[in-house]
């Protein structure tokens, strides 16, 4: 295993110390493993947004804490959902009285731990609502599975809902917008290599030089199927087919598109992929109104790409454009 670490046991603590040192605009509670904004929390009476999940997906979620996006993030161990105590500590730290929204990626572990945290927070008199993100169309039939995974759309939910919360919307409205953004977002990912979790010490699976895993999630698990490695154009076609089969888009529809690297894919290649996505969508007269190309929801050192398409309405686009000031996403004033 080749990693720039000191030991698997200390990765998370040391990375959190690094985040604290690198970002004076964030406050890192090392004991409770909670990342908040250093400048207090949110404006008086504002709804707080708390997300979290296993580590190894950076910049998600800590990199999205800041004005216009998350109020707090709870990083779990690598690829392991955080424990309820973390979300409770976060809620207690940031609740202004207007309540907190939990943004949860749909994995059994995340859902259960956030659910327990919500119960604990309620006992402390904190209003909690939860949005579960489940955008990954590689997981199809939820009667046969734990339901679709939450992946790239998490960034869209956090950004758009963050802007709405910043505008002073109440908890119900903020939660409702979260559900709307999730409902109109779809993702699909392929991996060219497995990733290596520090504590596991070796790659999650073996993949021959000429093959790829199709329909992977963000935890190093194998995908739905294995296929011969194909040109970017065909990979994009496969991904868009799955996305559009689940959420058809019509000519004139406006979208926010993210082409996201899983960790070890050069930005040069992500732009090649984005070019294919743009060519395909604009070929159907679908409008890419906004886009992100880069590493936003990673899977440690996995080579591969995820494509997320959100069919955005005017509200969402306006909220997308609203100022955001976090380590990983920053625009506007």
């Amino acid at each position: 295993m080749k990693k720039l670490i000191n030991s698997p046991e200390t990765v998370l603590d040391e990375a959190l110390a690094g985040i604290a040192a690198a970002h004076p605009e964030l406050r890192v509670d090392a004991k409770n493993k909670v990342i908040t904004r250093a400048d207090g929390t949110i404006r008086a009476g504002g709804v707080a947004l708390i997300s979290g999940g296993g580590s190894g997906h950076e910049p998600l979620h800590g990199g999205f804490v800041g004005p216009g996006m998350l109020t707090a993030a709870c990083p779990g161990e690598v690829f392991t959902s955080p424990v309820p105590d973390q979300m409770l500590a976060a809620a207690q730290a940031v609740d202004s009285g207007a309540g907190v929204l939990f943004i949860v990626k749909n994995y059994t572990g995340d859902v259960l731990n956030f659910q327990m945290a919500a119960e604990l927070a309620a006992e402390e008199g904190i209003m909690v609502k939860t949005v579960v993100v489940d955008d990954d169309v590689a997981v199809q039939d939820s009667t046969w599975t734990a339901g679709r995974r939450g992946t790239g759309a998490t960034v869209f939910v956090e950004k758009i809902v963050g802007a709405l919360a910043e505008q002073g919307a109440d908890l119900a409205a903020v939660a409702e917008m979260g559900r709307r953004v999730n409902a109109c977002s779809r993702s699909f990912a392929v991996a060219l290599t497995a990733c290596t979790a520090p504590a596991a010490g070796k790659p999650g699976f073996d993949l021959p030089e000429d093959e790829m895993e199709v329909g992977v999630g963000i935890h190093g698990e194998p995908g739905r199927r294995r296929d011969k490695l194909r040109p970017a154009r065909e990979i994009v076609a496969t991904a868009l087919e799955a996305i559009l089969a689940d959420q058809p888009l019509a000519a004139g529809d406006e979208t926010i598109v993210m082409v996201n690297g899983l960790g070890a894919t050069p930005l040069l290649e992500l732009y090649v992929v984005f070019n294919e996505v743009a060519t395909a969508l604009t070929g159907q007269n679908v409008v890419i109104a906004r886009s992100l190309v880069g590493n936003y929801v990673t899977s440690l050192d996995m080579a591969g790409v995820s494509i997320t398409v959100c069919k955005a309405d005017a509200d969402m686009l306006a909220l997308w454009d609203a100022p955001v000031n976090t380590p990983a996403l920053r625009w506007g004033t």
């Binding site: 296993g54 779990g76 161990e77 690598v78 690829f79 392991t80 959902s81 955080p82 424990v83 309820p84 105590d85 994995y107 059994t108 572990g109 259960l112 731990n113 659910q115 327990m116 590689a138 997981v139 046969w144 599975t145 734990a146 995974r149 979790a197 504590a199 596991a200 070796k202 999650g204 699976f205 999630g217 935890h219 190093g220 698990e221 194998p222 739905r224 199927r225």
Partner: protein, 207 residues
């Protein structure tokens, strides 16, 4: 079962998890995210510390503490599930000792709490597939007059058989369900740790 035995049980689980940590992770690597051994190890290490010097006057106190500690330290799917199980078992044992019949009922309460939380049914390729037969076997032994050791031994055997039987199943809950048909042919990590938990019970009681 008394307080010391309860403590010995969770310590025996911790020892077993420590020993089989890499194996559990390896199983989870095939159809999950390669952390089950690490999760269980983190959790039961914390449990060992938590119950080491705790004062308790009922059996359940130790087990509730174990469950609460698992919830606070494991994360993942297995943390809340095992955590609730131990909390439920512990809550059902509110006396200084428990007889086999009472313990059978407590195990059943634990199972119920896992199923309530995780909504998995037998055959979904989860810890339930080891847990449910273990509870049934324990109850059967008790009902036919078996003592604690016999019941725990039967439970451990049933859990192991249930664990083995997960291999041909297609997962329908948890992370391995994402693999669809590709989950077939692999033993479920959670069912495996459940088998360890019941084996630890049998060995503790037999000592």
């Amino acid at each position: 079962m008394d307080i010391d035995l309860a403590r010995s049980w969770v310590q025996a689980i911790a020892a077993a998890v420590d020993q089989h940590k890499d194996y559990l992770t390896q199983l989870d690597s095939a159809i999950g995210d390669a952390d089950h051994g690490i999760n269980m190890h983190r959790g039961f290490s914390a449990v060992t510390t938590a119950v080491a010097n705790m004062e308790a006057d009922i059996v359940g106190a130790v087990l509730v503490k174990a469950g609460t500690t698992l919830i606070s330290s494991v994360g993942g799917a297995s943390g809340p599930l095992y955590g609730s199980a131990f909390r439920a078992i512990g809550k059902a044992l509110d006396a200084p000792t428990a007889d086999p019949q009472q313990f059978a009922a407590a195990l059943a309460a634990g199972l119920q709490s896992v199923q309530k939380l995780g909504a998995a049914a037998p055959g979904d390729k989860t810890m339930i597939d080891a847990y449910a037969p273990a509870v049934a076997a324990f109850q059967l032994q008790v009902d036919s007059g078996g003592d604690f050791a016999a019941a725990a031994g039967a439970a451990a055997d049933a859990a192991k058989e249930g664990m083995r039987a997960t291999t041909p199943l297609q997962a329908r809950k948890g992370r391995s369900s994402y693999l669809g048909a590709r989950s077939v042919g692999h033993q479920d990590p959670g069912a495996t740790s459940t088998a360890l938990i019941f084996r630890a019970l049998a060995e503790t009681v037999a000592r």
